[in-house]
């Protein structure tokens, strides 16, 4: 017959323990000096929660005065605190890394902006102390205008013709229509002067498109593809110019142009096949 001591707790006791009171807290210290304290408590919803805390035990050799102070009794508002840190007043926050400032080059380029004497880079657009590619205004429509102005004469010949045209003799609309009709293929629409601009950002609006293209010459039609439900841009647009030169100039400038952090693609509109 086994000794009675072997049955430290009967199964009935265990069931009682599970259903009612909480298991007693346990403490374990392993050979690496890591203390593990396991506690059980009830949370707000009366659910049992197991709390496991691990501590690294350290032995320090300190001067007598420090050792003496470690043994002091707590006082004031802490008089009732247990030995060891009170979780009410002391806790460990998340790890925070020191941010080293090592980017000297960035600092230097900032310095040149601040100090006008040391300007080695000059923006062709806003005349600021930076390279044109770094210009903060480069994604705005005004930038195109500037580029058109500063482009070598050969490439802007197309633009020039448009300006001379618009500034030159008045052409009555019906004559113009006739000219267009000559060029037009079947039907009323001429697709040869239309360009397709793609990779537009979602936030592009009609006004943006207008602003983007109105420097190149007169347009007959403009279509910005929009989502039916959301009204947001679907990423492409068709612009019909009156003259083919204007359209060519637009393609040349807008193809590869950075607008609203996206690089646009501009090409001739392909005729529709029915």
């Amino acid at each position: 017959m086994p000794a009675l001591d072997d049955y430290k707790s009967s199964w009935a006791d265990e069931i009682e323990l599970e259903s009612g009171s909480l298991p007693p807290p346990t403490e374990e210290i392993d050979e690496n000096g890591v203390k593990t304290v396991t506690e059980y408590k009830l949370n707000k919803d009366d659910k049992k929660v197991k709390v496991v805390r691990t501590y690294k035990l350290q032995k320090l050799v300190v001067s007598k005065s420090i050792a003496h102070r470690r043994s002091l009794h707590k006082f004031g508002d802490s008089v009732n605190d247990e030995p060891g840190p009170n979780s009410q007043t002391t806790f460990v926050s998340e790890d925070i890394n020191m941010q080293l400032i090592t980017n000297k080059e960035e600092e230097r380029s900032n310095d040149t902006v601040l100090d006008p004497k040391n300007q080695f880079a000059k923006c062709r657009f806003c005349n600021g102390g930076h390279f044109t590619t770094n210009c903060p205004y480069r994604h705005t429509a005004a930038y195109i205008e500037k580029i058109l102005d500063t482009k070598p004469a050969a490439s802007t010949s197309a633009a020039e013709t448009t300006t001379s045209k618009s500034g030159g003799k008045y052409v009555p609309p019906f004559i113009k229509d006739q000219q267009n009709k000559n060029a037009a293929s079947k039907g009323g629409r001429d697709d040869t002067t239309a360009i397709r601009i793609s990779n537009l950002s979602e936030s592009t609006s009609d006004a943006d498109l207008e602003e983007l293209t109105n420097k190149f010459g007169r347009k007959s039609k403009m279509y910005l593809a929009k989502d039916k439900n959301t009204g947001l841009c679907k990423g492409f647009a068709y612009v019909h110019f009156y003259s083919k030169e204007d359209a060519a100039a637009a393609i040349e400038t807008l193809d590869g142009f950075g607008y609203d952090h996206l690089i646009l693609k501009a090409e001739w509109s392909k005729p529709q096949y029915n």
Binding site: S65, L72, F75, V92, I96, M98, Q99
Partner: protein
């Protein structure tokens, strides 16, 4: 290492201070109870209960037995560090702004605010006998400050006191002659804090004019300047490296009127000699009001407007930092 957060105060921290050995950290806040903590694990040893108003300044002597605190309740109180018992309470005519023990711990100095028709005054008292007789003992020296209020103060050994003033003036007073010896005005705004280097040859000032400056403690020659874009509330010199740490941010009342970019509440580390910022440490969600290096230079603590004290132990990369 993960930083320790000490939450013993209900209001913004006004000053923190390590004792000489660095095993204790004292903190005071605008609530009325200064706290003392063990730096090793962030355990709170106790609170010094007795003040009626905001505690503006604290100091501990080199033996870590005496602790003084100056408060807005117009009193300077002396405490026993180990038991938290109030030993003496010295009444003043206006709130006590700065208080310091001398190097030997035999004397203490405190300054009062210019308020309620009272001029700002500097007092020096003898604290060798620590008992209630101090309550009505006469001060050794009483110096009225004619020009500007004292906002920060330092003892240089036992003979001289360095004061920082509301208008940016830094002055040296000889306590035995009882008069001003030297003064310079390098700052344009309030000097919030001054801390000595370990060898006590230099000290760093923190001013609301967005700069911290390094001065020679004897000649008051301005040696270096650390510029930021926000008011500096506290600055401390590393005891082991040529580093200066600056803490600041705009005042709580100005938060709504400044851009969010200006309100960065990091501690900023500058090289003492090159005057160049090399690192930042985030943490507080309000301006930092007080900073202090652990005497061994391996950790530092900061107290902020958010009411937290943070003890951050530097990781290995900080110690391996090399400047080209």
């Amino acid at each position: 290492m993960r930083p320790l957060m000490l939450q013993g105060h209900e209001r913004s921290i006004t000053q923190i201070r390590y004792n000489r050995e660095g095993d204790l950290l004292f903190s005071s806040s605008k609530d009325s109870k200064p706290n003392v903590w063990f730096t090793i694990n962030g355990e709170r040893l106790g609170t010094y209960n007795g003040h009626q108003g905001a505690v503006w300044c604290i100091d501990v002597d080199w033996t870590s037995t005496k602790f003084i605190s100056g408060s807005g309740d117009m009193s300077l109180k002396l405490w026993s560090v180990e038991t938290g018992k109030n030993i003496a309470s010295i009444e003043s005519k206006s709130s006590v702004r700065c208080c310091n023990f001398s190097y030997s711990g035999n004397q203490a100095a405190y300054s009062t605010d210019r308020a309620m028709g009272q001029d700002c005054e500097l007092f020096i008292i003898d604290v060798r006998t620590m008992d209630s007789s101090l309550n009505d003992a006469q001060p050794i020296l009483r110096l009225p400050m004619k020009n500007s209020k004292i906002t920060s103060m330092l003892w240089f050994l036992d003979e001289t006191i360095i004061t920082g003033h509301e208008n940016g003036l830094v002055s040296i007073y000889d306590t035995r002659m009882g008069r001003e010896v030297n003064s310079v005005k390098e700052h344009t705004s309030v000097i919030q804090d001054m801390q000595l280097s370990r060898d006590m040859t230099m000290f760093v000032t923190a001013s609301k004019d967005c700069t911290a400056k390094l001065f020679d403690a004897d000649s008051l020659v301005c040696l270096k300047q650390y510029k930021t874009e926000r008011p500096v509330n506290s600055a401390a010199i590393s005891p082991i490296y040529d580093h200066v740490v600056l803490g600041g941010g705009q005042e709580a009342m100005d938060v709504t009127t400044t851009s969010t970019k200006a309100g960065k509440f990091d501690s900023r580390f500058f090289h003492l000699i090159y005057e160049e910022e090399f690192a930042r440490l985030k943490g507080h969600f309000g301006p930092i009001n007080s900073l202090a290096f652990h005497p061994d230079g391996k950790s530092y603590a900061s107290g902020g407007e958010d009411g937290f004290v943070r003890i951050q132990v530097f990781d290995q990369s900080y110690h391996e930092l090399v400047f080209e």
